[in-house]
Symmetry: C2
Subunit: 388 residues, 2 copies
């Protein structure tokens, strides 16, 4: 078992009508607020108006950056940083899902440097300082509201790269499950797949671990399996949306890691898919994950699948290990592709097999992904082929 540091200082207001605290929280960090958001769904839902009301009530001045796209692009970061510098912004308020929050994190860092924001990714420029970030979450998926990382895409180079710094950890996050009532069935399903992947990237790992964290991860997975279908059937089911929302934060805020060192596997592979084809991140993860699990299954790893199958899917523990493992993968596939109704192959989402080699090469950085099982270019190509 490895040592670790646990530190998640983000303050979370969870529940309905917590925006009454927004003004006081923003005021702790300054007077000039940059509000960032995506395509305008927050205007249709009325959330935008509620937020502006609170900002005005607190006597704060606000500026806006709208149009932050899914798989947010470095150009949005550039635009946001320019506004911050020009207007002397004190604090950022991201309103949206992971894309908006991720972009806002890097705006917060880019506002404090003279170099181009892409240098944080391409040259490993350090984050020495960042503006404070608050957020109002509208999609349960990426966990960006409670962690210190963010993923940015650069269409020019076809790169999609994640990076982080404790300086980018949101100070305050507002998690109101009712703000996710209007999330479409498709995005709800993709969000569920995303959070399950965050958990499975850690759970499927042969490093020694803490039993208490295994139990927690199994509980989080069972929560998604129980409540994602409920949210699809009944989009305004508070209990379902609340469980999904709080699960999305805990799937990736760092608590479940418990000092494990191995790299993730499906996320780097998926980033190549969405960098090149701009598909929804959670969809790519749903397609990849069961095939990755199938590819990594052997006598050395089967014990982990057995624990997963028995504790998460309730498979009979007296069956032979390999049978439990295969049944678990099948039940996971059925959950993604039948229950959640997500597309199940790369070809269905328009990804061309001639791109597999180049995407596989980039996914492992031309070397090896040291995840659950080490994956080199050829391994990743085979996993892509299994997703055909």
């Amino acid at each position: 078992m490895n040592n670790f540091i646990y530190h998640i200082p983000t303050k979370v207001y969870f529940g309905e009508n917590q925006l009454i605290h927004l003004g006081e929280e923003l005021s702790n960090y300054g007077k000039k607020v940059l509000l960032t958001y995506g395509g305008g769904s927050i205007k249709r839902s009325g959330l935008y108006d509620s937020i502006i009301k609170e900002i005005e009530k607190a006597g704060l001045e606000h500026f806006e950056l709208s149009g932050i796209e899914p798989n947010p692009k470095v150009d949005s970061v550039r635009k946001g940083a320019e506004i911050c510098k020009k207007e002397g912004i004190d604090v950022l308020l991201a309103v949206g899902g992971g894309s908006t929050i991720d972009a806002t994190k890097w705006i917060a860092a880019a506002a404090c440097v003279v170099h181009d924001p892409w240098d944080f990714f391409s040259k490993g420029a350090p984050v020495k300082k960042a503006l404070p970030i608050l957020d109002v979450l509208t999609l349960a998926a990426t966990g960006s509201e409670m962690d210190s990382g963010g993923v940015i895409s650069n269409p020019e180079t076809q790169d999609k790269i994640g990076n982080g710094s404790e300086k980018l950890q949101p100070k305050v996050s507002f998690l109101d499950p009712t703000n996710t009532y209007t999330v479409s069935a498709y995005q709800t399903a993709c969000g569920a797949a995303d959070m399950m992947s965050h958990i499975m990237e850690v759970y499927f790992n042969m490093e020694p671990d803490l039993y208490m964290l295994d139990c927690f991860m199994e509980g989080l997975l069972k929560t998604v399996i129980k409540y994602a279908p409920a949210a699809l059937r009944e989009p305004d089911n508070y209990e379902a949306r609340a469980n999904l929302m709080w699960t999305s934060s805990w799937a990736i805020n760092g608590f479940i890691n418990g000092g494990k060192h191995l790299e993730w596997s499906c996320h780097p592979m998926e980033h190549e898919l969405s960098a090149r084809y701009d598909i929804t991140h959670g969809l790519g993860l749903a397609i990849l994950t069961p095939r990755w699990l199938k590819y990594c299954l052997d006598e050395t790893t089967v014990s982990r699948y057995v624990q997963f199958g028995v504790n998460v899917f309730g498979i009979d523990s007296t069956l032979p290990d390999m049978e439990i493992a295969e049944k678990a993968i099948e039940m996971l596939s059925d959950f993604f592709f039948k229950t959640l109704g997500l597309k199940s192959t790369l070809s269905e989402v328009g990804i061309q097999s001639e791109d597999y080699p180049v995407m596989a090469k980039k996914a492992c950085g031309g070397d090896v992904l040291r995840g659950f099982k080490p994956l080199r270019q050829k391994d990743i190509e085979k996993i892509f082929e299994m997703c055909d």
Copy 2:
């Protein structure tokens, strides 16, 4: 489901040899350190020397308050506050278990006021300011290392009162499981009962709750049931000590509450026992908890016992509900009194039945404990009698 605020900013260094970070962390808060500890076991174990070495290496000046007792007394708080004022202490370093950390929290508050420390409890004097607190944990039990509360006893008035403030939340906690290798079997068992009680006080509650938190609580309970016996058999089992240590923090840092409003039941009852008889807190909780569960079991509450029995103890879910509930209470009793070897009755620990009425009256504040089931003086007396 109720709204809640989640905010646990404590930074935790978990694992072996993390004390190399102690000097830098203390230095963030000042130059003059007050080291607080209990009866001297940290000198025998060598932990004291390691800490002094780090303090000196960082060029800090240190003062000491030793002799903080179990069920810490307000006099220790007075002594600590005097040293802080006289020496101009910048930061407190508690080395010990819950008693030492609890006392240190109130020293931190008392150092910043002119009134007597007991006024925080008897008169509800507010905590407007407190010195920063760091700690090195040596006992997995109370969770004081990651929460903002502390319980202080006043032998003159036979009161034992818990109170808290976010200003008392430790800034940094060092959790090294090897520091608990020398904890006796008896204290290990009492710690296990204490953390299980923290979970059950929240779990046994008829307020609407989050399924994901129920799963987590069940996982924490299973962790204690799995690893407390392992730690008794093999005191230097790292895995067991690590699981118990991290579970103790998460059992009471606030995460599992999820906005539930009801009061606790066994803790107020136990505080009367240990205020009057100075017994170990966890032992009192072990004696009370199964009887409290038995007393509260009826048709309106049985569903909660069924969930507990099936998910924590693996009882066959096809049995009749009442049978599952009774079996679960029996298995919990067996765990406390047979597996952990704790005494099972109040008479065995020397508590006189003639004191039941006065202790029962104080436990409910002369009115009613609004816990899992509302408990008035007569109810509490009956629970004490069941513990005879």
